[in-house]
């Protein structure tokens, strides 16, 4: 999968370096703009912001999907399931910000939705 990702980034770099059509996007700019502006702190955004986000989201979806698919293949299936996406999110550090959209039932073993409090023994050592 690491090879697939490396290949992805160089492929995307080549695509982006020769991009010429900024009118047609895979993702609708108006909706992206709505999502950006749903943040109360946001005042103004340059015209390039939604365009850049459209491409960024493409990359994000592509990476998340590739990582999820690795789980699908590992389970010897050909249908990408929600649990594959959930596992990919939990196994990837940069996707930590997504932990809240994963339900309790989907948590992998040894993962916690919230950090468990540390416990200490009488003499101040960390309890196992």
């Amino acid at each position: 999968m690491e090879d697939s990702l490396r290949h992805l980034w160089s492929q995307k770099l080549a695509e982006c370096s020769s991009a010429s059509d900024f009118k047609n996007h895979l993702l609708p700019l108006a909706r992206i703009k709505k999502i950006i502006k749903s943040d109360e702190d946001v005042r103004m955004i340059s015209a390039e912001a939604p365009v850049l986000f459209a491409k960024a989201c493409e990359l994000f979806i592509h990476e998340l999907t590739l990582r999820a698919w690795a789980q699908t293949v590992e389970s010897r299936r050909r249908t990408l399931q929600r649990s594959d996406v959930s596992a990919a999110i939990q196994k990837t550090d940069v996707f930590d910000f997504l932990i809240d959209i994963i339900t309790e039932e989907e948590l992998l073993p040894h993962q916690h939705a919230r950090p468990t409090p540390l416990a200490f023994t009488r003499n101040g050592n960390l309890a196992e």
């Binding site: 980034w9 995307k12 370096s17 020769s18 390039e48 912001a49 491409k55 050909r78 399931q81």
Partner: protein, 170 residues
Amino acid sequence: MPSSEESGPLPAPPPDPDPRGATDDDAMAASRRAIAHEPERFLPIANISRCMKNALPENAKISREAKELVQEATSEFISFITSESSDKCLRERRKTICGEDILYSMRTLGFEEYIGPLSAYLERFRATEQARKTERTGASGDEGPTDSDADAHEEVRVPGDLARSSTTGE
């Protein structure tokens, strides 16, 4: 006795945001149902689905729930980056989130691999915009793309001033 609340006529479903989204009748019907119920805080599931398919082998299938989770994750991604970009603008006392802010935020938040392709993409976009302006006015402009809001773009951006974070503060 107050009369029972009368609801007005149902609002018309929003226009199909992406007519290229589906390929056959059943899929189009399902797509329309989905669009009618889709919160505006998400990107349309048809578009999400196409992006996902681009990442997968031809014969791969994707469950509806998987698409929905990716749909939700994508909105979270936008909000995550936006929030960081907005903080940066606040710190630097700027009103407008621009391309550099977004790139900077991605780097800060761990999306380093995205920077290469996105910087190239931004450069291409600005060059294309510049070329369009030059064509239209017959004079070379030195303004960056105008703000999508009514106010003029707060800062002039020169092509080539990319990927580096803003010069103020930080």
